[in-house]
Subunit: 191 residues, 2 copies
DNA sequence: GTCTATAGAGAGATAGAC
DNA sequence: GTCTATCTCTCTATAGAC
């Protein structure tokens, strides 16, 4: 008996492969090999590739939400928390484990598989909007800004910066874009 | 004899399929069917799928650069041109034909296939940075901003907004994020 | 230039033994 | 629960006729 059960190893294996290769390029065989499980084992625990992928995506989404929520709940001003979140350590060239899947046609066109992505981003926009509202009350941000719109822009900068970094084969565009949005968010002096 | 030659039809077909499905999910067979060309025909004009994909990606990149350059060269202030570019008509749920490919592992990990993406985004950042510099000279933007950083952030917002829209299955997050970055770029009043 | 035939490999799953 | 055998399809390409 392994440290974790077979179903868990299959989910972990699938999460890694979805992040690395996407849905289409993730084969049952590769999943099994990485999980050290046989075919019969996989089809005993899951009805097939879609069901296993759904379990893996949900897990990744839940973990991301928990992790980001903890980061954004830390002490400090709203602006400081947002700064820390944008500047935190990231495996930039691997991309976002959730955002990456949105480009996958098989996922984007499947209601079940897409749902966790939609929920994750919706939660993130709401969480950031709340922080921005708080920052406006504290006089950190221009009171005329729409918190929901700024929050959406912040999420976009992160996701788009991953895209630019992967296109460039370098983290430079990522870092540049983050510094750009931070400058716009809290200008050195008035505009 | 067709209106356009076979090689051109193959390239056009590949461009469409790469946009819709990505590299891995685009099969020679599907390319041939959409181009109304046989297998022998395709392998006569191109050495294989990678060569055809490269020709298709280059074409898409060149076309995007030409199109955006024309848009950004229009009359009006720097800010007005950037606004018009961000707000232009887009097929949001289809995603960006170039940015979409950056998430494709087979493309991101292949120097030849990735190069056109890198060049396109580098050009776009430079083009926007030039406009921002001009806008600073005209007093439209805070002179303390780094044009290259703000340009990278603008590109990220576009790319990331495509990602959010596809995840949501709706254009709403896209529109929200664009309005957010525009508000940060030119606040209604001082910050 | 374009066609059809063929081929080795892998995808994704099912069947039935253990 | 896990294993091996088997199956049908598709992928990507090559070969050689026309």
């Amino acid at each position: 008996m392994s440290l974790v059960d077979t179903a868990e190893r299959l989910i972990a294996s699938t999460r890694e492969l979805l992040w690395e290769r996407g849905y289409g390029a993730t084969s049952p065989k590769a999943i099994q090999e990485r999980a050290q499980a046989g075919q019969g084992s996989m089809y005993h625990h899951f009805s097939g590739k879609p069901a296993l992928a759904l379990a893996a995506i949900r897990r990744s989404a839940d973990e991301l939400v928990a992790q980001v929520d903890e980061q954004l709940t830390s002490s400090g001003t709203a602006l400081a928390r947002i700064r820390a979140y944008l500047l935190r350590e990231r495996e930039v060239l691997r991309g976002c484990p959730i955002g990456r899947l949105a480009q996958d046609t098989e996922i984007a066109h499947n209601e079940d598989l897409r749902a966790p992505l939609a929920e994750t981003f919706e939660w993130l926009r709401g969480r950031l909007a709340g922080l921005i509202t708080q920052g406006q009350a504290d006089g950190e941000f221009n009171a005329g800004l729409d918190p929901a719109a700024v929050a959406a822009a912040l999420v976009s900068v992160l996701q788009g910066s991953y895209v630019q970094a992967r296109a460039a084969g370098s983290t430079d565009p990522f870092d540049l874009a983050i510094s750009g949005i931070l400058a716009l968010l809290s200008p050195p002096e008035g505009n």
